[in-house]
Amino acid sequence: MESLTALKTGEAGIVEKVTGGRSFVSRASAMGFTSNVELTMLQNFARGPLLVFLRDSQIALGRGEAEKIKVRRK
């Protein structure tokens, strides 16, 4: 299990867990980040926010937020 930030551009993964405060978990899960959902990393440069594709949508998230989302590689 690793953080979402570990996925490189183009790699796919499956969400295992969303950690962090209640408000973050609730916000992230409403945007589609729930357990067992498949996602693809669209853009991950070494710095700056990430771009992820899941549930038909492009979602941008900061590195700090991505750290809280745990995935397993596919």
Partner: protein, 640 residues
């Protein structure tokens, strides 16, 4: 569990709430239904914009309330609280849920929440054309059956589906629509848990709350509900409940998952894509627009073009208004020759300059909102937030704050009005508190002008140095605000980058028109009032500026202002600037006389500067300008 409810015809005006996630075409539907019969205000006691409107179908009157666009209805943000408490407490007769057919799975999420609430729902399935381009087939009849609610397919951008929506609304208002929604439930292993929770809270929750909804929200850890129950429960009861909830730290995740499972069940039969799309079709432009380097260059180019564009539109109009007003005051002073001198003076020297400044400001506000409206409508605004996020994080803000902050360089008022795009309430508060630090175009005009007089070729360096100073001050103030005033978890960046759309001009024009109207009502009248007040003070008691109350007040402060090389007239302008920077310019026009404002300013600064040594010379040159940039200005954006 399906509960049968019928939509009931109401004797009063049939009230409809429009709900949906951001970027689902909510505002398009709102504008098409109500046309120009709409009103922008704030939700009572909140800093969140509320749009309401009215329309008629076949002679029957309807009122429409636009709920804030949110991704869910948990009490995380102010918007979410507003949406759900409106539905729970005000009980609209109908809720229209906007759903994006091209992003069906995610955008259905809010419907999963809405069907748990007591108001009947119909669903508008927008962007059917985009879904068709993706070769996704959606069987609307099948979807209707699976959901148990009315579904209206729509392609708002192509003007398709509005007649059907109106028909559905009319039907609902006659009580002719069946409403038997399938509600999402938790997995079987949690049925007992939910039953138990329901039993514990059923007599304690507010009357308006459905108990099955409340139990789910409790498991999600909904802060509002938890607070209510903690207050209402006996100590031991609450301790028991807290212990049960403590066993499910992932409650929010469990509930969200159950909603997405519900969505998958519903769509399994009704939706078929040739092959599950793994990746979006990202255009080359979008790749570039989100690239750390190219994206920044594109953002810079677009933002500069936007600022210049709005200046190009705004400036000539403003100039035209100003020269028109000068003409007008000439004509008026002749026409009013027969009237009492004070009345003519009040109109020519007080009212006309005040009005002309307010109108000139309006030109800029409209231009800025035109630009914001276009960028927002085509979907670029979110990219801008994404690309500037890293830089903004450095000064403790998020990317979404970029555009309002940047627009503040054009005009603080539009910056503060634009701060509504920021979804986190805390961030919005910080931005609103920070915006007045940013010198707006008017101040830059003054600054550029002054520095060019004193430093000729070095002027650009001075201006650049001041820009750096402003950014540093923003960072410092933001740090202090977050440290001491607006504390607590500030929402980090997590946002959708919506697909690009062609601009919908009708939408944009209505957007600009409403903002302009709001500005005139709130800020415009204040500017006119301030200039009138300054004029009255400068006229009384003897009808001449030199011996007026204003002058004696200014002279009183002259020793203080003298330190900064200002005479009493500049001090007055500075004081007026506490109310608004624009008022400072306006009062400059009154105090120095309209046409002479600029030249008098030079003269005043020039003569002071000649009398002092070189070191003081530099200090005088910089300090009025920096003072203008640094003092706490602009009170009038706050009512906005």
């Amino acid at each position: 569990m399906a509960v049968s409810e019928k939509t009931v015809p109401a004797a009063k005006t049939f009230t409809i709430a429009l709900a949906g996630q951001p970027n689902t075409g909510k505002s398009t539907v709102f504008n098409r239904l109500t046309g120009s019969r709409q009103h922008v205000g704030n939700w009572p006691g909140k800093t969140v914009e509320q749009k309401t409107g009215v329309f008629d179908i076949a002679g029957k009157h309807y009122s429409l309330v636009d709920l804030p666009g949110t991704y869910s209805l948990t009490a995380n943000s102010l918007e979410e609280r507003i949406s759900r408490s409106y539905i729970l407490d005000e009980r609209p007769d109908l809720v229209i849920a906007m759903v994006d057919a091209s992003q069906l799975e995610r955008s259905l999420y809010i419907l999963a929440e809405l069907v748990m609430l007591p108001a009947p729902v119909i669903m508008v399935l927008n962007m059917m054309d985009v879904a068709a381009e993706q070769e996704r087939r959606i069987d609307v009849k099948e979807l209707e059956q699976a959901l148990g609610i009315k579904v209206v397919p729509m392609s708002a951008a192509k003007n398709q589906g509005f007649a059907e929506l109106q028909a559905a609304i009319a039907q609902a208002s006659m009580g002719e629509l069946d409403y038997k929604p399938q509600k999402p439930g938790l997995k079987e292993e949690h049925t007992l848990l939910i039953k138990d929770l329901q039993q514990r809270i059923s007599r304690l929750i507010p009357y308006a709350y459905p108990v099955d909804w409340a139990a789910m929200k409790l498991l999600e850890g909904d802060s509002e509900l938890v607070e209510t129950l903690r207050e209402r429960m006996k100590k031991d009861e609450w301790a028991q409940l807290e212990a049960i909830l403590g066993q499910y730290p992932d409650g929010a995740l469990l509930v969200a998952e159950s909603r997405f499972n519900w969505i998958q069940e519903i769509t399994a039969q009704a939706v078929s894509s040739p092959e599950r799309r793994r990746l979006p079709l990202r255009s080359r432009f979008d790749r570039a627009a989100t690239h750390p380097l190219w994206g920044k260059l594109i953002a810079l180019a677009i933002v500069l073009a936007a600022i210049m564009g709005s200046m190009l539109v705004g400036a000539p109009v403003a100039m035209g208004i100003m020269s028109g007003m000068t003409l007008l005051s000439g004509v008026l002073s002749k026409a009013m020759a027969g009237m009492p001198a004070w009345l003519a003076a009040a109109v020519v020297n007080g009212l006309v300059p005040g009005l002309s400044f307010a109108l000139a400001m309006l030109a800029f506000v409209l231009a800025v909102f035109l630009v914001i409206g276009i960028l927002e409508d085509v979907g670029y605004m979110a990219r801008l937030g994404y690309i500037t996020d890293r830089f903004m994080q450095r000064i403790g803000l998020q990317g979404k704050a970029f555009m309002p902050m940047f627009m503040s360089f054009c005009c603080n008022v539009s910056g503060i009005m634009g701060a509504r795009v920021i979804d986190s309430w805390k961030q919005r508060l910080i931005v609103i508190a920070l915006v007045p630090i940013i010198p707006c175009a008017a101040v830059w005009g003054v600054t550029g002008f002054i520095s060019s007089i004193f430093f000729s070729t070095g002027a650009s360096i001075i201006v650049a140095a001041m820009l750096v100073a402003v950014v540093l001050q923003l960072a410092l103030s933001s740090f202090l605000l977050r440290r001491f005033v607006v504390t607590g978890e500030s929402g980090g960046l997590i946002m959708e980058l919506p697909p690009y759309h062609k601009p919908d001009w009708k939408n944009i024009i209505i957007f600009v028109w409403l903002r302009g109207k709001e500005f005139v009502k709130r800020a415009g009248s204040l500017i006119v009032l301030v200039t009138m007040l300054i004029w009255v003070l400068s006229y009384l008691p003897y009808g001449s500026m030199e011996s007026s109350y204003l002058a004696s007040f200014g002279r009183l402060l002259e020793p203080l202002g003298g330190l900064m090389g200002m005479d009493w007239r500049l001090i007055i302008c500075l004081i007026a600037g506490f109310v608004s920077k624009e008022a400072a310019l306006a009062s400059m026009a009154v105090v120095f006389g309209l046409g002479e404002a600029a030249s008098s300013l030079t003269a005043v600064l020039g003569t002071t500067a000649e009398q002092v040594s070189l070191g003081a010379y530099l200090a005088t040159a910089i300090s009025p300008a920096t003072a203008l940039a640094f003092y706490l200005p602009c009170c009038f954006p706050y009512p906005v």
